[in-house]
């Protein structure tokens, strides 16, 4: 038996000791009440670059540079998503105030289904971007629809909401965040 072989036998114990420290840290962390809140890593950072076709003119590409200059709200939706349908009235009321441009981000959808959805429910969006293969969704950190982002004139992500918007969230979170973003400029 070599010396190396003998010390190798201690390796499993060492690995487990490391694991135990990690698990103890986990138990410690799980006492925090807020640990399930998921802050977006994008907040306060520059929005990801993209170049996506629009729903109504598939030949036309829109990139982040085209939208910069003034704040905009990016709303992720799909015709397959029931909560998006619920949220639609809220988005429509908000967009009708013309406070800010509302960009639709049509995600993982069929082209015809998306068009039919907008025809049926009305189109509140300034423009609808199409990301049917989820090419930029990872960059945006999108993991479900609906999701809504607020991007300021410099292209910084200022606010994010996961799940359906309500009038309350628009009034108490989105509008104040928008005011702060405009004030800071």
């Amino acid at each position: 038996m070599t010396q190396a072989g003998r010390s190798l036998k201690w390796l499993p114990l060492l690995v487990f000791a490391g694991l135990a420290v990690l698990l103890a840290a986990g138990v410690w962390l799980s006492r925090r009440a807020d640990r399930d809140a998921l802050p977006s890593p994008l907040l306060g950072k520059h929005a990801p670059e993209f170049s996506l076709p629009t729903l109504h003119e598939p030949g036309r590409l829109v990139s982040l540079a085209d939208l910069k200059g003034a704040p905009f709200v990016l709303n992720v939706w799909g015709s397959w998503c029931p909560s998006c349908r619920e949220e639609h009235a809220v988005i429509t009321r908000f967009a009708e105030t013309k406070r800010v441009r509302v960009i639709g981000y049509n995600w993982k959808d069929e082209h015809a289904d998306a068009l039919r959805w907008l025809e049926q429910l009305g189109n509140p969006y300034w423009v609808v971007l199409v990301d049917s293969d989820s090419r930029y969704a990872l960059d945006w950190g999108i993991y479900g629809a609906p999701e809504t982002f607020l991007v300021d004139g410099n292209g910084m992500v200022r606010w994010k909401h996961v799940g359906a918007l309500s009038d309350r969230i628009v009034d108490h979170e989105l509008l104040p965040a928008l005011a702060r973003a405009e004030h800071a400029r």
Partner: protein, 646 residues
């Protein structure tokens, strides 16, 4: 009154396990026969006490005793009788009691079937199992008492989680626990061997069928969980790499490695230290799984309610059991872990080498799953932010690690122990490799979609099946050779791998799905199948109201069947459950799930055609069957002294 008796039974069981842990172990160390002789009766008394406690809890559910907090939280007067029984293990406290009951069952079984083993061995094995049972019973009594009273008693129970009101859930947890807890037997043997300082091939022969049976149950348990997720969650997926799934998959991977390395150690005497380590690892991973699921450390869709006290308790228990066994391993393991000091040296071209590769690949896969499962926790602890590790990571790395295993699999049974002319098994398999490759290429060019997955699935499956058949043929042709249940079991399990490959890769490659809104009368076409939505009617169930949809399926214009996807609203809590309608078939499943009502009679629908999805579970059943059949081999039941007569 009865719940207090249940409580008393648990406390008595705790005392018995303390006795069972201390006296036989001390007796074996000091050679006191009377102390060692206590192990067996203690095991039976422990089973009787834990079973009584379990029966009393079941009675409280059936009799709807809402003065017991656990019953009031997990039952309801409307709950059908069969689910009142299964509600016993529907939440943390009761499922922990089920865990303890199954551990008592395994312990009593070991006590019953171990008459031929030396007294010191059996005293140590039952002592170790007693110590484990002590830990779990203490956990149950001090942090998770299922018999806690609710004063004043509730008038009505809160109901069993509707997700668990399902036939699949009746047997999934017991099967899974039979597997998890069953790994306690090889673990206890490994500890006994380390304490004794000798690893005797005869004990290994005795413990092998126990590992096989535990592994078979675990395989079935995991497959049932996957099947349940497929039909109950309404997403049409069969594996999600969710932390809880991973928690059951890690012991399976380690257990699969253990099955193979035990065979080497028993037959050739090599890999002794490694086999001991794997036996410790398989059960430690079962304990780790319990910790992850019940401590609230990881967030998961089907985790139990988080509770830091419980987390801390299991962590300390885990540290004592796993840390203690690994310390013992470091001090006492035989000196052949690194391949030096083998009693039976083997050449690079030999079955030992192939099984070593099998073990390395399986344990790497297990380590990969462990890393992926714990990485979010690591990132969180180091302040690197919230990261989730998703299916792409697991699927890619798992495929990379398992592909070489599939490539090497057919060589294993055909290669001789100790030394082999590498060209011999290669020559035997070349034509079949060519045929499998041809099938893969043909599949690649004819597949309507997902050509890589379809080609890999068919070629891999054909390769494993043809290679296994080649082994069968050469074995049966050999004059005077016996075909033992052990070989039969291996063959079945390997055919199971082949069937599983077809299921997993063809489902992934060829599935078609649409999620869309349909008004009554509208239809959607997927390949050859047209699904015509007929509308939804409201119909009452025992403890829920159902929105019952009707979808007429036509294949190439011919009506096939009416499918009835459901959306159930449970009376007790208003939870809504999706019951997908599935038209099963050997070549494909049709799968329809109702989404949300969209007004005007139209509904969101999720429609899938899933080719060969059943083969996934069929493959798992064959693997499990292989484990059970191999365990019946009479060789394992020979007395140690019969060794020369076989």
């Amino acid at each position: 009154m009865l719940p207090e008796l249940g409580q008393l039974a648990l406390i008595l069981a705790l005392l018995v396990t303390a006795l069972q842990a201390i006296l036989p172990l001390a007796g074996a160390q000091r050679g006191v026969g009377a102390w060692m002789a206590l192990a067996r009766p203690a095991a039976f008394v422990q089973l009787a006490l834990v079973a009584s406690a379990f029966a009393i809890l079941a009675h409280a559910f059936v009799a709807q005793d809402f003065s017991v907090r656990y019953v009031a939280t997990n039952s309801n007067t409307l709950l059908p009788l069969v689910y009142r029984y299964t509600a016993v293990w529907g939440a943390h406290e009761g499922s922990l009691l089920l865990w303890a009951l199954i551990l008592s069952l395994w312990t009593a079984a070991v006590a019953l079937f171990s008459k031929r083993l030396p007294q010191t061995v059996i005293a140590r094995v039952l002592g170790v199992m007693g110590a484990i049972a002590f830990g779990f019973l203490a956990f149950l009594i001090f942090t998770s008492n299922p018999f806690d009273r609710l004063l004043p008693a509730a008038m009505e129970g809160r109901d069993l989680n509707p997700l668990l009101q399902d036939p699949g859930m009746i047997i999934h947890p017991p099967m899974l626990y039979l597997g998890y807890v069953g790994f306690c037997v090889p673990f206890a043997f490994a500890i006994a061997a380390l304490l004794d300082g000798r690893i005797d091939a005869r004990w290994l022969r005795w413990v092998r069928p126990w590992t096989n049976v535990a592994w078979g149950f675990l395989t079935i348990g995991i497959a049932l969980g996957s099947w349940w997720a497929y039909y109950e969650l309404g997403w049409g997926g069969w594996w999600f790499w969710d932390p809880v799934e991973n928690a059951s998959f890690m012991p399976w991977l380690a257990g699969t490695a253990l099955l193979h390395s035990q065979a080497v150690t028993e037959k050739r005497g090599t890999f002794r230290g490694w086999t001991l380590l794997l036996a410790i690892a398989a059960f430690s991973l079962s304990l780790l799984g319990t910790f992850l699921v019940r401590s609230g450390v990881l967030t998961s869709v089907h985790a139990f309610a988080a509770d830091p006290t419980r987390g801390l308790f299991i962590l300390v228990f885990l540290g004592l059991v796993v840390g203690g066994s690994l310390l013992l391993y470091a001090l006492r393991a035989p000196d052949d872990v690194d391949g030096a000091g083998n009693t039976q040296p083997f050449a690079p071209a030999s079955r030992e080498t192939l099984l070593l590769a099998n073990n390395l690949l399986l344990t790497s896969a297990c380590a990969m799953v462990l890393l992926g499962t714990l990485y979010p926790l690591l990132a969180d602890a180091l302040g690197l932010g919230k990261i989730s590790v998703g299916p792409p990571y697991f699927a890619l790395l798992f495929t990379l690690l398992i592909a070489p295993l599939i490539l090497l699999l057919p060589f294993g049974p055909l290669t001789r122990w100790q030394r082999e002319q590498a060209s011999r098994p290669i020559a035997m398999l070349v034509p079949w490799a060519g045929l499998a490759l041809g099938i893969g290429v043909a599949a690649f060019f004819t597949a309507p979609q997902g050509p890589w997955k379809v080609a890999a699935g068919l070629a891999g499956s054909a390769w494993v099946l043809l290679g296994t058949t080649r082994f069968l043929w050469s074995r049966l042709r050999m004059p005077g050779a016996r075909f033992t249940p052990e070989m039969m079991g291996m063959t079945l399990a390997h055919v199971g791998v082949s069937v599983f490959l077809i299921g997993a890769l063809l489902t992934e490659g060829l599935s078609r799905q649409r999620e869309l809104a349909l008004a009554p009368g509208q239809s959607v076409t997927l390949g050859h199948h047209a699904f015509r939505f007929q509308g939804v009617v409201r119909s009452p169930g025992p403890n829920y109201v159902s929105d019952l949809g009707t979808v007429q399926v036509m294949r190439d214009g011919v009506a096939l069947a009416d499918m009835h996807p459901e959306k159930r609203t449970y009376a007790s809590g208003g939870q809504v459950m999706t019951e997908a309608a599935i038209a099963p078939g050997m070549t494909h499943d049709l799968y329809v799930a109702l989404g949300e009502p969209l007004g005007g009679g139209s509904w969101a629908l999720r429609v899938h055609v899933k080719p060969f999805v059943r083969w996934i579970w069929l493959g798992a059943v064959l693997m499990a069957l292989g484990g059970f059949v191999a365990a019946t081999d009479r060789r394992f039941r020979h007395r140690p002294s019969d060794r020369t007569t076989q």
